[in-house]
Symmetry: C2
Subunit: 222 residues, 2 copies
């Protein structure tokens, strides 16, 4: 982990920096919505939400060739990618000590555009990350579809990770008072799949989708 | 809704712009993690995740006086705030048509720092948005605590909203094939509250926290 600039922060409370690459990977493997920052030609900030998927030492993203911001990212514009998981509420005995449990990764760098075989492989990884097992259930992408999609990768090089997962840290004067304190976790899961209105009769929910509809589980995106 | 620049986009599929202020408010009232974009002194993008709460025609955020990025936001640096809800998976008959259900708001502008009474009121609103009813259960903020916190507001003026909530849009050649298609919703809820280790005996979980521990419900943050 390199850290050439002030780390971002959600709150000043209970947060701690982590150089734990495994913890970074765990976050990136769980949360598939990222926010890319860009600077527009006038020097103003722009933030682009997009799906993100880790592939080893890089983060894959993709988008339409029709989007100027996607084109700028794919062309290697300097960027900052934030991936954040809202994991719970820290309910302290005062508003000041109340905060949230989160995991927050910020990566800096420039993306590289993928072409040809690399692109196809990367899109398969994206599909598999979101719906494991789906690639084997569907046809291969058409050339026209590949042409309409930009795929790019941000190296995991310059990054920081902050994790807030502690208990409320109230001062003694508040602990001795009458207010409750604790943590309320966020639970996420996929719900029951709903078939498309144009689904032909006799086509069952596939194994990939059945596996998604899991029991409610712990913090983070499904 | 003004729209002076290209809107951000997650995918090119099934997305539609919305000028529906009520839909924007519904998103901002449900998702309390936002990503602020900034441009650093070298012209490079930075993205800062932080808690956000709508207050009428503005979005409130706060942070530590110790964070340079929070200070820059509070001082009115040009910013872009993205608030995104990951609402489900669109499982189409091809990878190309597969996408996600989301709501994505992007607001542009500059924040204004709140002082004195405005600050206290804003922090109460933040507490109430995250844990409704909590303000009445805890002591008032101390002067020292208020001094350590920067509170700032971004006006809801220049914004765009995109919502993806449709069914898979597969071409006839794929619909007639054997692949399943549909939508898998994301469900979120708060789990059971856990008392802090230093909680004194005899202090029950308060009404505000009991109300949070809701049954599993639909898309969006809890």
């Amino acid at each position: 982990m390199t850290q050439p600039r002030e780390r971002t922060r959600i709150t000043r409370l209970q947060e701690k920096g982590s150089a734990d690459r495994a913890a970074l990977d765990a976050l990136l493997d769980r949360v598939h919505v990222g926010h890319f920052g860009l600077t527009d030609p006038d020097g103003r900030p722009v933030v682009i939400p997009t799906a993100v998927v880790r592939d080893g030492d890089r983060v894959l993203a993709h988008g339409s060739t029709g989007s100027p911001w996607i084109r700028a990212l794919a062309a290697g514009a300097p960027t900052c990618l934030a991936v954040t998981s809202f994991d719970g509420l820290v309910v302290a005995r005062s508003a000041f000590e109340s905060s949230i449990h989160y995991r927050s990764a910020v990566l800096f760098g420039s993306c590289t555009r993928l072409d040809d075989d690399g692109k196809l492989h990367a899109l398969d990884l994206v599909t598999e990350a979101l719906v494991p097992g789906r690639v084997a259930e569907i046809r291969r992408p058409a050339e026209r579809e590949l042409s309409a999609t930009l795929v790019f990768a941000l190296p995991i090089g310059e990054w920081s990770l902050k994790i807030s997962d502690g208990w409320p840290d109230d001062p003694p004067g508040d602990v001795s008072g009458g207010a409750w304190a604790g943590v309320v976790p966020v639970m996420t899961a996929y719900g029951a799949p709903a078939a498309a209105p144009d689904l032909r009769a006799g086509i069952d929910v596939p194994a990939s989708v059945l596996r998604l509809a899991s029991p409610v589980r712990g913090p983070g995106a499904p």
